[in-house]
Amino acid sequence: MLQPIDVDRIRKDFPILQRTVRDNRPLVYLDSGATSQKPMAVLDAERAFYETSNAGVHRGAHQLAEEATDAYEGARATIAGFVGAQPAELVFTKNATESLNLAAYAFSNATAKAVHAPDSVDRRFVLSPGDSIVVTQMEHHANLVPWQEACAKTGATLRWIGLTDEGRLDLEALDSVIDETTRVVSVVHQSNILGTINPVQAIMGRAHEVGALGVVDACQSIPHMPVDVHDLGADLVAWSGHKMLGPTGIGLLWGRSEVLQAMPPFVSGGSMIETVFMEHSTYAEPPKRFEAGTPMVAQSVGLAAAVRYLDDLGMDAVAAHEHDLTGYALGQLEELRGVRIIGPRDNVDRGSAVSFVVDGLHPHDVGQFLDDKGVAVRVGHHCAWPTCRRFGVPATTRISPYIYNDRADIDIAMEGIMAAQKFFGV
């Protein structure tokens, strides 16, 4: 049976939630879609690492170096286990954005190298004019701009799956958008602006049908629900540590072994090599091939602690808790006059990020009134500018609760919205 989330107990683990903002208002943090707060267990783990075992990893034959290496590789195993993966399939990056660039650069790098040494690369990654790359109209810029750049460097064409007015993918077009010209399909699992949870398995299936590689941006799903990377049906899955209670400065890329093996390096330098001569070098096997330079060791340790914290709560319980808050928030917003939800209004296949606009009010002004009540939300295009345009709004206000929020937090947010309406007389 599910052990329900005990918000009061959890809050005690987060020092920042004890503080007040503005005129001594208790902090109501509803901006976890941007970044989550960190429990003490994470801060303690990182600090303990620095205080006892800090050293270069995979180098040096002294005890600290051994301990640091153990800490780093142990963290990899813990985090891999959390998503049902093998440690050797998990690459550490600085954030999800780097992870997605790693995927996109596999194509542009292989394409450039193929010009001078066709046999040095796997043809699956070589693009030419006539080839297409497919994304959706609800991508975060991190899963859009790198693919635009890949197109600019290779002559491939970017295509996308459009959206319905309800904020779902228009899957009728799936088979025509993804066709024989398609070489890679990269899709967000859960939209950070609309909250929509996409049927990525079906989309990845279509990608594989036409021989394309499949990438999933799981930034907003892995922190909020149980995810086994294999269930997504993708070849590569990207996400960030800082949105799942972990430190800033660490991201993840999971890849099917065979695909990682076939990918050329992205960032190159120390630790990702096998042999180096002045004239040429050979590269290590994944995941090392993609981890050049001194890695985010302390951050990996912190993230492993975050994963243990979430595991203790149980991701099923986390998802259930957020589902409840989402339903409540949707209901409360529907009751407010002049408020329009951008994204699915039914609490089905949707996560807890809830975006809305208020008639006659710019989101910045709404956000200011929420801030005045101690409520932290994000206003703007949420790095999904084309999605805003699709819905004819310049920006939205977004509530994105997490494990430390309860219904009372949503209530305070509603008060803020009404205060703004009253003040501006709309």
Partner: protein, 154 residues
């Protein structure tokens, strides 16, 4: 400091009733500025009348602060000579970066003194500055004020 001190009456009034919100017939320079974090936009056009005084037109969409700032700015600087316009812009930029500690000079800034509270909200400073940045850029494109600045610094 609370939110009412930010949204002074003058700001609300300009937001709801923008002044001079239209483009020029024959602009000498134009600049379109965007606040990439929130998508606020403003286009400012400038020219000089036969006496060498500033003509200003604008258009935009965005939050109360950015749109009121555009309205206040255009009302203030239209009719100034370029050097006066520069003084006002510099004073406004300084006010925004004062963290709320400055005593704004109403003789130079007119209604724009009402934005003093914005300086306490760093995320809104960009909103207030957006039209002023567009003004500066539009003048640069039109070649307005350049000669003067060149002279004074050489």
């Amino acid at each position: 400091m609370n939110v009412e001190a930010l949204y002074q009456d003058i700001i609300l009034d300009h937001y709801k009733h923008p002044r001079g919100r239209q483009l020029l017939a024959d602009p000498a320079g134009e600049s379109h500025q965007v606040n990439p974090t929130c998508g606020d936009e403003v286009t400012v056009q400038v020219g000089l009348d036969s006496d060498g005084h500033l003509l200003v037109g604008y258009e935009g969409q965005g939050c109360s602060i950015s749109q009121a700032s555009a309205s206040v700015m255009s009302e203030l600087v239209a009719g100034f000579d370029p050097a006066q316009g520069d003084d006002a812009r510099r004073a406004f930029v300084e006010l925004m970066h004062s963290k709320g500690a400055a005593e704004p000079d109403e003789d130079v800034l007119g209604d724009a003194v009402a934005f003093v509270g914005v300086a306490k909200y760093p995320a809104r400073i960009k909103c207030a500055l957006l039209p002023w940045m567009a003004l500066q850029d539009a003048e640069a494109k039109a070649g307005i004020g350049i000669a003067q600045e060149g002279t004074s610094t050489s």
